[in-house]
Amino acid sequence: MIGGGSEHRSWGDRLVVLVPYLWLALFFLLPFLIVFRISLSQTAIAQPPYTPLLDLAGGFGALREFVAGLSFDNYVTLASDTLYLASYLKSLEFAAIATALLLLIGYPIAYGISRASAKAQPILVMLIVLPFWTSFLIRVYAWINILQRDGLLNDALLALGLADAPLTWLATDTAVYIGLVYSYLPFMVLPLYATLQKMDDTLLEAAADLGCPRWRAFWQVTLPLSLPGVGAGALLCFIPIVGEFVIPDLLGGSQALMIGQTLWTEFFSNRDWPVASAVAVVLLTLLLVPIVVYQHMQTREIERSR
């Protein structure tokens, strides 16, 4: 079952691979193919609301009919209606700026933890991770309490004399950025910490011995060596943020929807499953390159530690 290098594979070995493999193929891979197929079908007023899928019982004739029935109408809709383009661009903008903010805020925290005493480090890491396991929903909801018009942030600003009248925070881009940075901070801090912690201190000592000031040692030694962590953290945040739904839905305004919200609306409100599928296919295509890069980094990491 766990026999390592032997050429001959026992049935136990095969089962270990096959069970999870088949599960993922059936419930992860196959669904994408179906999304792709439905994105090429017409909206129909029926249950389910799209034209029928391939009927294999019909033989060759059905197959020809199937190919003839494929339609790119949904993609034409996506391309011609600026709503969708604006939505994709808005998502990329939110994700790019939020990732940059996360790096600026997450790096000093990760750096600070990596410099803490060996005993304090695991505790600090746990404190960073803990809120991440509380649901997105609750953490975003917590910010509604704070950001609403008569909420605590305005109370504090008024009490400190920093504002003359209550400011509008909810339903603005600022609120979405606060929510994104808040929710994704652990995803940024952990990979950064992992690389910073492994760093060889003697390099910094050498730099100091040679008269290099601390800030310059950081700039020329620490930062370049931590770039793998920066890349991993940035991708780990950027990819899911592009498709984020809960945060912009609860904290953002209604003028500029992110693509996750557009997909949700198409599916739940307009009940247009084919267009929702097409939105998903385009979103997945956009994210394909970052996902492949991320996978490549992960696999390399595993192979190195084997």
């Binding site: 999870p20 992860f28 929903l137």
Partner: protein, 267 residues
């Protein structure tokens, strides 16, 4: 170079932790607010917790969520542990690359895509949507988290123990049960707890894959939150935070003990 906390490092850690915990602390404190107005402090009270006890629909949603979390986490633990064994112990089998791709992709895949695609699968094969479809969806997502956690443990433990057992004539299955499994048990348990809390928290995938009669707690909370802040929601969220916090502290204690001074678990 001086190693130790400088004021800059201490400030950034302190500010970071304050930013992470203050909103949750405020939520918890206001769940004990006696006033119906969520923004006015009216003294300490547990009336919103008492109100929860009378909310039958909410209780039902909580029971559904816990049921789904138990079923999906159990399935995810078995599937994820098998996947971790496949990735670390079987060397280069055919189809290894697409296999590891399928393990890592769900970790970053936007939930709206995973949710929509699974729903379309269930509709295509005409599977009644409800408790079981949400459980399958959650098991699929969380098995990948379990696989990552268990794999981290499998990678850094001593293979010679297994080899010794095999050399002494112990059959592979028995070696697994008596040597490998006890050694990775803390990571497997941690994986189960992670899967459980992820399932308990999920809104997006559950919204897509659920059907009539299987409203989960996050779905219920979300529909309430959209209507505005209510003190009862503060109370529900506080209970959920407490449950997840206990599960997570247990999980991290388990992995820490198992890692015994090694590198921290990836999650």
């Amino acid at each position: 170079m001086r190693k130790g906390p400088s004021w800059f490092n201490l400030t950034s850690i302190a500010l970071g932790l304050a930013f992470l915990y203050l909103p949750i602390a405020i939520l918890v404190i206001y769940s004990f607010n006696a006033s119906r107005l969520v923004t006015v402090w009216g003294g300490w009270s547990i009336r919103w917790y008492a109100a929860l006890l009378e909310d039958a629909a909410l209780r039902e949603a909580a029971a559904t969520s816990i049921g789904i979390a138990l079923v999906s986490a159990a399935a995810a633990t078995v599937l994820g542990t098998l996947a971790a064994l496949a990735l670390t112990r079987l060397g280069r089998f055919r189809g290894r690359l697409p296999f590891s791709a399928m393990i890592y992709a769900p970790l970053v895949m936007p939930e709206v895509i995973t949710g929509l695609s699974l729903l379309l699968l269930f509709v295509a094969i005409d599977f009644d949507r409800g408790f079981w479809t949400v459980s399958i969806a959650h098991a699929t997502l969380t098995m990948c988290f379990v696989a990552v956690v268990v794999q981290a443990r499998l990678v850094d433990f001593d293979r010679s123990l297994e080899e010794a057992a095999m050399d002494l004539g112990c059959p592979p299955l028995r070696t697994f049960l008596t040597v490998t499994l006890p050694l990775i048990a803390p990571a497997v348990a941690a994986g189960f707890l992670l899967a459980f809390s992820l399932s308990l928290d999920d809104l997006v995938i559950a919204s897509f894959t659920t059907g009539p009669g299987a409203t989960t707690l996050p779905i219920r909370i979300y529909s309430d939150v959209r209507l505005g802040v209510k003190p009862e929601i503060n109370a529900v969220c506080t209970i959920m935070i407490a449950v997840v916090a206990v599960a997570m502290i247990a999980a991290s204690l388990l992995t820490r003990r198992s890692a015994s001074g090694g590198t921290p678990a990836p999650i």
